[in-house]
Structure formats: structure tokens, C-alpha cells
Amino acid sequence: MARKSVLTFFILAFAFAGLDAQEASMGALGPPPAAPSNVKAPDKPNDTGHGLLVKWDLSRDDGAGLDNVLAYEVWRSDAADGEYTKRGVAVKGTSEYDDTDDSERVNDEPNPDFIVTGKTYYYKVRAMAGGTAYSDFSEPGSGQAVENWYHKGKTPIMIGVIIFWAFVVYFIFKARQGQEFYVRPLAGINAVDDAIGRATEMGRPILFVLGTGTAGDIATIAGFTILSRVAKLTAEYQTPVLVPVNDPVIMAVAQETVRTAYLEAGRPELYKPENISYETAMQFPYVAAVNGIMLREKTATNFYMGIFHAESLILAETGNIAGSIQISGTDQISQLPFFIAATDYTLIGEELYAASAYLSKEPVQVGTLKAQDWAKAVLMAVLLAGAVLISLAIPFLKNLVDVNL
């Protein structure tokens, strides 16, 4: 990553509070370096319109000539012959300075450094040598900040989204045409039927935990889609499913999900909204409450699907004490080891997102899995190609994926 980001970093802004010419007085005065020239201040791209990119040609004594340039100082004014104030410093060898300030007010006072969109600003640059030796100021250059309507740096991301979207739509289309796709069996999915059947035989409820994320987290949404399939099966088996939650929006969505599933299974009369219950807010109080449910309701099967943090192992071990069959799935890498160790089946990362397609068995859903596989193949090819190219010192692909926001 080094090369490109270092270069871009030189373009980045920095302002040194307290770095002042007089303060830096030191040592003997050498001959002053030549002034930088050709100052320009074009708009800084990809921003909200409060930044200018000051550019100049290096001093003749930067890396050559007297070779005594240490840094450049960038000064700004509202008028070409107005009063200039220092904006910041750029180290030697750098010919760009990012002057950005988008706070209109600071501490409820108007901010004098604020860059107004469309207003013309003038810049002068001078070189600074060791000691207090300064070059003359360059001729002023000017420019205006413009509000940008497209972030060019994000183009690779857009291409990525479009390609993946196209894969998904294409395979949905294929599935609608009647094409069937093979998917390999997943142990965690195959176990779902048995686990629900076991609860039915034992006459005990099923527990479905959606994790400690919010309803807007995609892993929780994946949890909803799995809950929907599981609830449909439980409705057919007439086994109650308990969904204790710690977020009210999750509660509302889970209620709709389960109700729909019961309707689709033709058993709307079995649906009890109070089984999807708000236990409490906050991670550990919620976990304590779920622990209580496991031990007191003696749930036969526990599902953990969504975002989990440290509570993963608390839940899984308590479930173990209660003797429940446990199926887990999360996208949290730090918690996967504990689910793997302490539950019977674990859906790892992407498998969590694939589970609803597996359980629904609908061709359209399975089609999206095919799209994911194609995207993965492309990803692997790009990754390998990029690694080969960079080994040959061709950074083309690497630069392409190295998105700088």
C-alpha cells in the first residue's frame, strides 16, 4: 500500500499550530533559496466545495542547486494585493497543498478560515531553508472552490456494485426462466429440520436469538430471513418459537416476519405476538434475560443468527447446560471461534447470508447464491492477477483497487 498512499498523503493538508517562522529561528543564516513559481489554486476534486488544491513549481534549490529547502509555506488572501495569512506548511519535494476548511462557525463565532464556495482566493508560496532563510514570495495564483457532484475516486466502488448487481439480476432472471442451480449441502442447514423435529418430539419451545445488533445491520436482516423460514417450519410442526429481543425495531420486524410465516404455513391462529418479546436494552442485561429463558422454558433448540459480541459464549455455554441443540451463525470474526467451539453447528460469515436461500429452496433465492459465487470467482481472479502484477512491479491493478476516499 505504501507507494500510492504516501504520494497521496503528500497532497493532504496539514496545519501546524504554533509553527511560526520567527519561532523557528536557529543557527546561522545561509543564503536564501530561490522562490517557488507558477502558483495555481484549482478546485479540490470530490468534495463539498470548501477546498482548494494549491500547486506550485518547486524551488530551484529543492533537491538541486543550493539544496537547502526544508519546506514550503502557503499563504492565502481574499485579494491579490490584500493581506496574506499563513495557512500551512508542506515538506520539501512537495508541490501541492490541500487547503480545506468547511466549518462555517467555530465555537459559535464565524470562522475566518472558512472557504466559501465560488469565492476567489489568492495564494502565495515561499520556500523555507534551514535557519530563518526564506525565499521571496512567489507571484500570487488564484482559484475558486466548486461543489462537486460526482466523487471520481469512488468510481471503482461503483463499478464493483454495478457488476455484482448485474450478476444478481442475471441469475434471478435465469432462475425465473426455470433454470435450476446446484448448491452443495451445508451441515448447519441440514440440521435445521432435525433440530425443529427434536423440539416437537420433546414438546418444548424453540429459541431464536437475533443478536445484539440493530434492525438496520445486515447480519440482523439475514437473521430475519432465516427466522422467517424457521418460523414456517415451526408453524407446520406446531412448536412455539420464542424470540427475545433487545431492540424495539427488531421486535416489530420479527413480529411481522413470524406472523407472515405462520400465515404462509396456513396456521395464523398459532401466532402469538407475545412470544416475540422485548426483554431489555443493553447487551449483558439482555443476555442474562435470555439465559433465564433458556433454563426456565427449557428450550430444546436454540438458534443464534445475527450480530454477536462477547455474549456469544455466554449464550452458547448456557444453552449447553440446558442441553439444547444449538445452531449459530454470525459475521463477527472475533466471535466465530466461540460459536464453533460451543454450538453444534455454525454458519460462518457468508454462510449466514446464504442460509435463507438454502432454507427457502426457491430458485430465485438460490440464483443469488450463484451470483455470489461468480462474484467470488471474479474477486479471486483479480486478487491473483493483482498479486502477480505487483510481483512484476506493475502496480496497475493494485492502484485500481486502492480506493482513496
Binding site: 500500500m1 471503482p156 466502488i157 461503483m158 464493483g160 456494485v161 455484482f164 446446484y182 448448491v183 452443495r184 451445508l186 434492525a215 438496520g216 445486515i218 436482516i221 425495531v249 416489530a252 411481522e256 426483554e279 431489555t280 436494552a281 443493553m282 449483558f284 442485561p285 439482555y286 442474562a288 434475560a289 439465559n291 433465564g292 433454563l295 426456565r296 470474526i333 472475533s334 466465530l336 471461534p337 466461540f338 467451539a341 460462518i348 460469515g349 454462510e351 446464504a354 450463484k370 455470489q372 459465487d373 467470488k376 474477486l379 479471486m380 483479480v382 486478487l383 491473483l384 493483482g386 498479486a387 502477480v388 505487483i390 510481483s391 491493478l397 493494485k398 483497487v401 486502492d402 480506493v403
Partner: protein, 202 residues
């Protein structure tokens, strides 16, 4: 320690023991602590959100005349139709926006952080065994996640290497975490120790 401090500390110490008693088995003391904290957490959270989010995004926006906020407020109130059987369907509008915004925001963000950043970090030159093995490990592990290929033959071998890599990673993750968990327990033990010293020694 003042009497008030002592009493508060005693409460905290008793509750700590109540929770630890769960290790022996579920019991009324644990259940009491569990139920108490459920109520306290819900109450704390209610007032926290009331004084922060509700005040800032509902009360203040209306006072300041930010009328654009009427739409989310109406959608929020729309959630309350869930109290009624007949009008509950109206809450779906609110849920729909909630889901639409959440998923729409996530797509490019996942594309950037989970895909581009990772691919870029893995595009390393093939010099040295470490780099080569990391690249092979990433490719094989990704291969394990292929759903539409049976894991047999060559595919089976590659995905096997992949799942082995994942398992080593999980084992390492487990082993690395023990220290932090023990440290948390030590903190509780030291809390109890300090409490007893304060009670009898000081």
C-alpha cells in the same frame, strides 16, 4: 468510606455474588439480579434515549422549525399503529423506509471496507513464504465459501485447505481471547477483595 458509599458498595458486592452464584446453578438470587438489571437497564435506556435522541431529533427540530423532520416523526408515530390490530399495517411504511435506508447505505460501504480494502491488502508481491502462504490461504478460504460447486476432487482439496486455514484462525482467536477474559474476572475478584478490606480492614 462514608456510610452511603459503604451501602452502595455492599449492594454492588451482593449483586456480584448473586450473578456468580449462577455458575453453581440457576437460583432465586441470580433470578433476582437478572430481573432487577433487566428493569434497571430498560429504565436507564428509556431515559437516555429520551434525553438525547428524542430531545435532539424530535423536540429541538420542531422548536427550531426544521420541518423536514415532520416526515420521520410521522413515520415514528406510525410505528404506534402496531398497538391496534386494524391499523398495524401502517407501521410497514416506517419499517420499509428503515430497511431501505439501512440496506442502501450498506451496499457501497461493504463494497469498500469488506471487498476493496481486503483485496488491496492481499495484493502483495510473491516474495517470501509468508506472502505466498497468505495469498494461498486467502484464495483457498474464499474457495471454501463456494456454494454451487460440490467439494469433491480438486475442488474438495482446495476447499479443505481453506477450511483448515479457517480453523487455525479460529483456534488462534480462541487462544488469544483467554487473556482478556481472565483479566475481566480478575477485576471482579479485586473489586470483592477491596470491598472486604474496606469492610473489615479499613
Amino acid at each position: 468510606m462514608t456510610t452511603a458509599e459503604l451501602l452502595w458498595n455492599t449492594l454492588a458486592a451482593i449483586l456480584t455474588l448473586c450473578v456468580f452464584s449462577f455458575l453453581i446453578k440457576d437460583n432465586p438470587f441470580y433470578k433476582f439480579a437478572e430481573r432487577l438489571v433487566a428493569g434497571v437497564a430498560a429504565g436507564f435506556w428509556t431515559m437516555l434515549l429520551y434525553h438525547t435522541n428524542f430531545h435532539d431529533k424530535v423536540v429541538l427540530t420542531m422548536q427550531n422549525g426544521q420541518w423536514a423532520y415532520i416526515i420521520p416523526i410521522l413515520l415514528g408515530i406510525g410505528m404506534w399503529t402496531r398497538f391496534s390490530k386494524n391499523y398495524a399495517w401502517m407501521s410497514r411504511f416506517s419499517i420499509a423506509f428503515y430497511m431501505g435506508i439501512s440496506t442502501g447505505v450498506s451496499i457501497p460501504v461493504f463494497m469498500y471496507t469488506n471487498i476493496f480494502k481486503q483485496v488491496s491488502a492481499t495484493m502483495i508481491p510473491f516474495d517470501g513464504t509468508v506472502n505466498v502462504l497468505v495469498i494461498i490461504g486467502v484464495l483457498c478460504s474464499l474457495f471454501y465459501f463456494f456454494f454451487s460447486k460440490a467439494h469433491t476432487g480438486t475442488f474438495g482439496l482446495v476447499s479443505r485447505i481453506g477450511i483448515y486455514t479457517l480453523m487455525i484462525g479460529f483456534g488462534a482467536g480462541f487462544g488469544m481471547t483467554v487473556m482478556g477474559r481472565v483479566a475481566l474476572l480478575v477485576q471482579r475478584v479485586i473489586f470483592m477483595k477491596d470491598y472486604f478490606i474496606g469492610l473489615f480492614g479499613g
